[in-house]
């Protein structure tokens, strides 16, 4: 009973601390909130993640060719970029000179300049020659210029494909000694252009008949990529700060020892092991409180789907045991509170970052093979892995390995920590 009294007293003291609220809840939630705003929370669209409009400078230097009925391929491209369908994606400004358009990019007024060459129509519709369409882009940007490049590629596919179709047909007919009749090549070009516009004219690959695009079954069922991103970040943050809470709660043992209050408590009829046990209970209670609040609050505010309750409870309990045991262990190795700065600020921060490194890699491309193993070098990595499995719909069976590792580590770290403290104080 005394053990629980000590535990509850210290828990109340922790809860009264602004520091605990700040680092236990404030910062983890603030970090997720920033990402929430960054990736859709401030978006006007209902789809969550949205792309900002890309300012585009267009210079059409193309000269229409009378023999092609004054049709201008350059004007067609410029019109395509300005069409209503792209107004959410592109904000097009026309310039007369290539130099001005490039300067607009240099001044960061435009993300990319599309410079259509004077011989564009002549090359596209003519029988020979080669030309280049220039895409002058801001080197610090990737998404906006990528969108523009995609649209232009689709446009060129239709025109260049038409021309290639005509060239190939001319060559094949000649090789077979067949005469090219009037209108035959124009018919091929027209049919190709018609086919290209019906199949590849859209920006989104999902809208072309060549590809049946879908998400992996797991994601398709879950449906909300923003919630997935936030969920992964929240899980990482929770693990990161739960370990800090475990360590900071354990630090009260050192603080009380240095302040003399621990010695004073030892003069009371309460057994020393009970006093220390009470301190350990505080560590577990504080981390439980933090984890439960973070799971509940993040689910309410950000709509994070934490997965099925039973596997979640198992993963969260394993996290609490591991974070608290680790805190007791690492604090037991310290001589005094003066060493906590380097250990908590340095060692634990680095371990936490390694443990949640896969969260940082999210959306950055295919992770290198080393990234699969690296997080599991530290205890935090196993906790992140367990929560990730639960959030991905994993059941108890999937959790066996991470929970076994976390459980084993918890037992070892707890007993080593308790042994060290008992050696020092009991």
């Amino acid at each position: 009973m005394k053990l629980l009294d000590i535990g509850l007293k210290d828990l109340v003291r922790s809860i009264r601390s602004a520091f605990f609220w700040m680092f236990g809840f404030g910062i983890p939630l603030l970090m997720v909130l920033i990402f929430y705003f960054a990736f859709g929370g401030l978006s006007s669209s209902d789809e969550g993640v949205s792309l900002p409009t890309t300012p585009v400078a267009v210079v059409n230097l193309d000269r229409p060719v009378p023999e092609f009925d004054d049709v201008s391929a350059g004007r067609m491209l410029a019109d395509l970029l300005s069409m209503d369908g792209f107004d959410q994606l592109l904000d097009v400004t026309s310039y007369d000179r290539a130099k001005d358009a490039r300067q607009a990019v240099d001044r960061q007024e435009a993300a990319v300049a599309v410079i259509i060459p004077p011989d564009f129509t002549a090359t596209v519709f003519g029988s020979s020659g080669q030309t280049a369409l220039e895409l002058y882009q801001d080197p610090t940007l990737t998404i906006g210029p990528g969108v523009v490049e995609g649209i232009i590629n689709q446009f060129l596919n239709a025109f260049v494909g038409s021309k290639i179709a005509v060239d190939v047909a001319t060559e094949a007919l000649s090789a077979r000694g067949l005469a090219i009749e009037p209108g035959q090549l124009e018919a091929i070009a027209d049919q190709y252009a018609e086919w290209a516009s019906s199949t590849g004219g859209d920006l989104q690959p999902s809208q072309t008949p060549h590809l049946e695009v879908r998400l992996p079954a797991e994601q398709a069922a879950e449906g909300d990529p923003l919630a997935d991103i936030l969920g992964a970040i929240m899980a990482g943050m929770m693990v990161f700060y739960a370990f800090f809470t475990g360590a900071a709660s354990s630090m009260t043992i050192l603080q009380e020892a240095e302040g003399g209050t621990l010695s004073r408590m030892f003069t009371t009829p309460t057994r020393r092991s009970t006093i220390l046990g009470g301190k350990f209970v505080t560590v577990f209670l504080t981390v439980i409180f933090q984890v439960v609040v973070l799971i509940a609050v993040s689910a309410l505010i950000f709509g994070i789907q934490w997965g099925d309750p039973v596997p979640l409870a198992v993963a969260a309990t394993s996290l609490v045991l591991l974070a608290a045991s680790f805190g007791i262990f690492i604090t037991s190795l310290l001589q005094g509170t003066q060493q906590t700065g380097i250990v908590y600020g340095g060692v634990m921060t680095v371990m936490g970052m390694i443990g949640m490194s896969q969260v940082f890699m999210m959306g950055a491309g295919t992770p290198p093979p080393a990234m699969e193993i690296l997080p599991l070098v530290v205890p935090q990595g196993w906790a992140v892995r367990a929560l990730d499995l639960v959030m991905g719909g994993g059941g108890l069976g999937n959790l066996l390995l991470p929970v076994a590792v976390m459980g084993g580590l918890s037992v070892i770290l707890f007993f080593v920590g308790v042994f060290q403290f008992r050696k020092r104080f009991v």
Partner: protein, 404 residues
């Protein structure tokens, strides 16, 4: 002179605690290397997005499609003969693959017959990864189907002359069309400014991976370093040292300027050290525009020091000094684009970001390190940061109390 004495006292007090080096130098360097390593692909030799290709057709057309993908600058095809479809799909879900492309058997035959067979594409849900992979795959598929369409149209024309075109001949015409795509009549040339090209040539792709992490962590940890400096002010107020100082010949203005100067020098030196690290170890060329870099460092040091003074004024306890330093550090770094380029965020987020000095600091470093620009390109940013410095400083002076 008294200002300098007070400044030196503060600096000695800050730097005597070796733990200050942790926040000022060790952590920013560690985080820069960590993020640089993560976003460089961790030493992966081919940084392109991995796309698993399941080729059940195994024909000339499917081979050409895979060749096209192999030539892409965005994706790299990974042949996975032994892997099940479920396993590959799981790998996409777990971000191990950017996409899986399934080429069904009979693909060439149906394409040659003028039909429109579909390829199945299972795509990573991330807009950046999935979107980029889809665009590259779409381009390759368009080229291959376009080449077959050209071959089909040619064959139809030949057949109007009562000549038949066998599948082998059709594939030969298809191959010819594919070859023509290798040197198309209209090319798309992606260019950038001369200074930016010079920077890219100079530091290479590996240097570019640190061009965001290095200034980002520099900006973030310049705020983190305020913790210790603000604590000194809190301690002086609580121990009544500030009041005692007032009994000496030093004026109130000199006391405030002394503390402010200490913070300014501390951050200035921190930034110089981190820039030196970036220049010497990470291969970034901060000294390409020494005037611009110098002006930027001074501007950042000014507004950060003024913020530090304000924190020291507002905080009543050491605990509060830490909290008041950490909150602006996270908010200003996160919203100002120190963690991720503002380009990848939404429009409203970007607008909010550019209300903050951190976004302008990041923009300034990007202009120097990536765009290869100089002092004129950062003038607006210097103005914004200067305005923040003045505002923070005036607020701090207004709220300055010599007793607790």
């Amino acid at each position: 002179m008294r200002i300098i004495d007070l400044m030196l006292k503060d600096l000695i007090q800050i730097l005597r605690d070796w733990k200050a080096a942790l926040f000022l130098i060790v952590m920013p360097i560690g985080f820069t290397l960590f993020f640089g390593f993560l976003f460089s692909g961790g030493g992966e030799s081919d940084p392109r997005l991995a796309v698993a290709v399941v080729d059940r057709d195994e024909t000339a057309v499917s081979a050409r499609l895979i060749d096209f993908l192999a030539g892409s600058s965005v994706v790299r095809p990974v042949m996975t003969p032994g892997s099940s479809r479920d396993r590959l799909e799981r790998q996409v879900a777990e971000d191990e693959l950017a996409a899986v492309l399934l080429i069904p058997s009979g693909y060439q035959e149906r394409l040659a017959a003028g039909e429109a067979p579909q390829l199945e594409l299972i795509l990573a849900p991330s807009e950046e990864v999935g979107g980029a992979a889809a665009q590259a795959i779409q381009t390759a598929v368009s080229r291959v189907t376009g080449a077959m369409k050209a071959a089909r149209l040619t064959a139809d024309t030949i057949e109007t002359s009562d000549r038949s075109v066998e599948t082998g001949a059709l594939v030969t015409i298809f191959d010819r069309a594919i070859e023509a795509w290798e040197e198309p009549p209209v090319m798309l040339e992606v260019t950038q400014s001369d200074p930016a090209s010079a920077v890219e040539e100079e530091i290479g792709a590996s240097g570019m991976t640190f061009a965001h992490a290095s200034p980002g962590m520099m900006v973030q940890f310049s705020i983190a370093g305020l913790m210790g400096a603000a604590e000194i002010l809190v301690l002086e107020r609580r121990s009544r040292s500030l009041q005692r100082l007032l009994t000496t010949a030093i004026s109130r203005v000199e006391i405030i300027l002394g503390h402010f100067s200490a913070m300014f020098i501390m951050i200035f030196l921190q930034l110089l050290l981190l820039i030196g690290f970036g220049q010497a170890v990470l291969g970034l060329n901060y000294l390409r525009a020494p005037l611009a870099t110098g002006a930027l460092v001074i501007a950042i040091s000014l507004w950060t020091a003024a913020l530090g003074l304000l924190i020291g004024v507002m905080a009543k306890t050491e605990e509060q000094a830490v909290i008041y330093s950490m909150i602006p550090m996270f908010v200003l770094s996160g919203l100002g684009g120190a963690w991720m380029p503002l380009e990848v965020t939404g429009e409203t987020f970007q607008r909010i970001g550019y209300l903050l000095p951190t976004a302008w600091a990041m923009d300034g470093f990007r202009n120097i390190l990536v765009r290869g620009l100089g002092l004129p390109s950062i003038v607006t940013g210097l103005g914004v940061m200067g305005a923040y410095a003045v505002t923070f400083f005036l607020l701090a002076v207004w709220r300055f109390r010599f007793e607790s």
